[in-house]
């Protein structure tokens, strides 16, 4: 057997910079690595000395794609550290804000970044000519998600309405009704996208690797949660409180690579839409369950490429669920709520599900409310070890398929995790060049 060399410098259509290196000779793999050369940005160092009021404004900039998620996680951490109560209305509106980002990020990933793989196109640009109706439906859903974020968060990227203790502003009843109508209209577009993806679903590689899936779990009331709850996994029956997230992440430096990885009950674990699905699928909305069935996606699925389908399922879930939440909100009547809080010393964590997996923020504040320390653990960090282990199982299975096919499947594997590499490098050890 001849040698196989795959060297992908800066994988495209992902957020941030990552490399794939594979060298094999005569069927023997000599080197196989997932590397991250992104410029580190040092957020935990930069927030020191800053006021509790400014934390979400700073850490939102960790990631342009999940800025709402970072703002929510940090705001929850501040509130937990200082004992601030958040009203029921603000809590509901925040969840709606968070759902808008799930839809925004998922449809961006499924539609613009991953779909070209399924359709055999290098990007969404040639796809416009190849499948114009699908692209138009994707664009409409993406626009809906962005305008939804605009309405509730103040803008699509880097929210401005979120403050410790609540929100600066909530939309009017009329604006909520208009949003609700658009969400109802969006269901048809999502169904069209699902049908289109189903028609090319045979291009999703058939690969499985049994592993541990970690996500939030909310029992009271039972919810397919992105925002409240405690930490659970497919290897663990109970839940772990958010403040104890370090006993879950167990960050370590691998001998094989110097990347800082995470593990819990086994060598690696995965986070993201598929992890949430595997822990909470029975709590999905009815339409979302239908879409899962279309693709034969069931609890216990261990094909990482199916994460894209789990994202599509979640798109349907957040849209359908939000339609009902808006009804509840308006039935109770919108109230004009003023936030009044004063800082105190404390240390606590905040956790939410980013579109690409569970996210932990932890801060400590002095009595004036200035930050004295921070620790942030990003979903993509938690997936790096899983990507590496997928590579190690996958490559021997496909080594005779030729370099192009191998490269394509490895790139698709990375992309299926929807990595957010700029996020992860605030604390990631990248490959050590000796």
């Amino acid at each position: 057997m001849s040698s196989v060399n795959v060297n992908v410098h800066h994988v495209t259509r992902v957020e941030g910079h990552g490399n794939i290196v594979l060298n094999a000779d005569s069927g023997k793999i000599e080197k196989l690595e997932w590397q991250v050369p992104e410029a580190p940005r040092f957020f935990e160092a930069m927030v020191r000395g800053r006021s509790y009021q400014d934390i979400q404004t700073i850490v939102s900039r960790i990631c342009g794609i999940c800025s709402i998620t970072h703002s929510l996680a940090s705001t929850k951490a501040v509130e937990n550290a200082m004992g601030f109560e958040v009203s029921e209305q603000a809590d509901t509106v925040r969840i709606l804000m968070h759902y808008s980002e799930q839809l925004q990020s998922h449809i961006l990933h499924v539609g613009y970044l991953a779909a070209p793989d399924f359709f055999g196109a290098p990007s969404v640009v040639p796809l416009v000519a190849q499948a114009p109706d699908v692209v138009k439906a994707i664009i409409r859903v993406h626009r809906l998600a962005n305008e939804w974020s605009d309405l509730i968060a103040g803008r699509t990227t880097h929210p401005v309405t979120l403050i410790p203790g609540g929100l600066t502003k909530v939309p009017t009843e009329k604006q909520f009704r208009q949003l609700q109508q658009r969400l109802k209209d969006g269901v048809a577009d999502l169904k069209a996208v699902a049908e289109a993806l189903l028609s090319v679903a045979e291009n999703i590689p058939n690969f499985t690797r049994e592993t541990e899936y970690v996500s939030l779990k909310q029992d009271n009331p039972p919810t397919y949660t992105f925002y409240h709850g405690d930490i659970t996994s497919t290897d663990y029956d109970g839940t772990v409180p958010v403040n104890d997230w370090k006993t879950v992440a167990n960050e370590y430096v691998s001998d094989q690579s110097t990347a800082k990885w995470t593990k819990w009950h086994r060598g690696s674990y995965a986070v993201g839409a598929l992890a949430r699905f595997n822990n909470n699928a029975e709590l999905l909305s009815p339409l979302a369950q239908d879409v899962a069935k279309m693709f034969a996606l069931e609890k216990g699925c261990c094909n990482p490429y199916m994460n894209n389908i789990a994202q599509l399922v979640e798109c349907v879930h957040v849209v359908e669920t939000s339609i009902g939440m808006i009804d509840e909100l308006l039935t109770k009547g919108l109230k004009d709520e003023k936030v009044s809080v004063s800082p105190k010393a404390g240390k606590a964590s905040g956790c939410v599900e980013a579109p690409r997996g569970i996210l932990f923020h932890e801060y400590e504040f002095d009595r004036k409310g200035n930050c004295v320390g921070a620790d942030i653990c990003i979903p993509t960090n938690q997936n790096h070890a899983s990507i590496q282990e997928d590579f190690e199982k996958l490559v021997p299975e496909i080594l005779d398929e030729g370099e192009d096919a191998i490269r394509h499947k490895l790139e698709m594997c990375v992309r299926s995790y929807d990595p957010c590499i700029s996020c992860s490098t605030h604390m990631l050890d990248v490959k050590f060049v000796k």
């Binding site: 495209t12 160092a45 930069m46 900039r61 794609i65």
Partner: protein, 250 residues
């Protein structure tokens, strides 16, 4: 005239400004009608070394990135800095307020001395190479971006506001956030965002940078009127204003 070739490159940043280009939705198709996008790693697999207009997102933090941006400059006829990280260093410049060894140890602990974790002072793009046009903001404003690209494609010079956010905020009919106890940077920060943050009840934190000649005396009057001092303002200015030209610091 042949369609100009545009390439988009990213450095240290959150990639949220590129996302605003994606967020143009159908308008991207209009953009593709007047220009060829030949490289854009976040959205496309296509790559090219030949381009007329280079759009740079992100700040420059490492020697290898300085070399890369110089190479891009040498190939491009026109270079555009996209977003606060590129135009003025952005939030990444907060790092420059600390000792760099301390910053590395804080985040990476014992691994801090490894060579791949090297970081230098955060620089805006124009601290390394010449910049022809600036698209301000964190993130950029989508309308302003299309306006600037449209102007360039038509051979015109885009006009960027050089008056403070307060002008747009007043035009929106907002009550002044200083009246609500917020330290808002509207009086000294460049408009063009439509006063997006104060219109949503959140103070301006300065992501578009200062106007060319901030009215320091007027800003001082505002601070004093509300019983605050320059230090109170400085703690807010540092978020996006670290190591910019000092205005009100003396």
């Amino acid at each position: 005239m042949a369609k100009p070739k545009i390439a988009i490159f990213d450095f240290a940043c959150c990639e949220g400004c590129q996302l605003q280009i994606v967020n143009l939705e159908e308008e991207i198709l209009d953009l593709l009608g007047v220009a060829d996008v030949v490289e854009w790693r976040e959205a496309m697999s296509e790559k090219s070394d030949e381009y007329d207009i280079a759009i740079i997102e992100g700040s420059i933090t490492r020697p290898e990135d300085e070399e890369r941006v110089k190479l891009i400059r040498s190939r491009a006829k026109v270079l555009i800095a996209l977003g606060a990280c590129a135009t003025m260093g952005g939030i990444n410049k907060l790092k420059n307020n600390f000792d760099l060894d301390d910053v590395k140890k804080c985040v990476y602990g014992k691994a801090a001395s490894k060579p791949h974790l090297h970081t230098g002072l955060t620089k805006a793009v124009d601290e390394v190479v010449g910049v022809d046009y600036y698209v301000h903001g964190c993130p950029i404003d989508r309308k302003e971006f299309t306006y600037i690209v449209r102007s360039l494609v038509m051979g015109k010079t885009p006009e960027i506001p050089d008056y403070p956010v307060c002008v747009e905020c007043k035009a929106n009919g907002n009550p002044c956030l200083w009246e609500y106890g917020q330290v808002c940077l509207g009086p000294i920060i460049r408009a063009g965002c439509g006063a997006r943050c104060p219109s949503n009840g959140f103070r301006c934190f300065g992501c578009r940078g200062y106007v060319d000649n901030p009215n320091v005396e007027a800003a001082r009057d505002v601070i004093e009127k509300y019983g605050l001092n320059v230090d109170d303002l400085k703690t807010k200015m540092v978020l996006f204003g670290s190591q910019q030209e000092p205005t009100i610091y003396e």
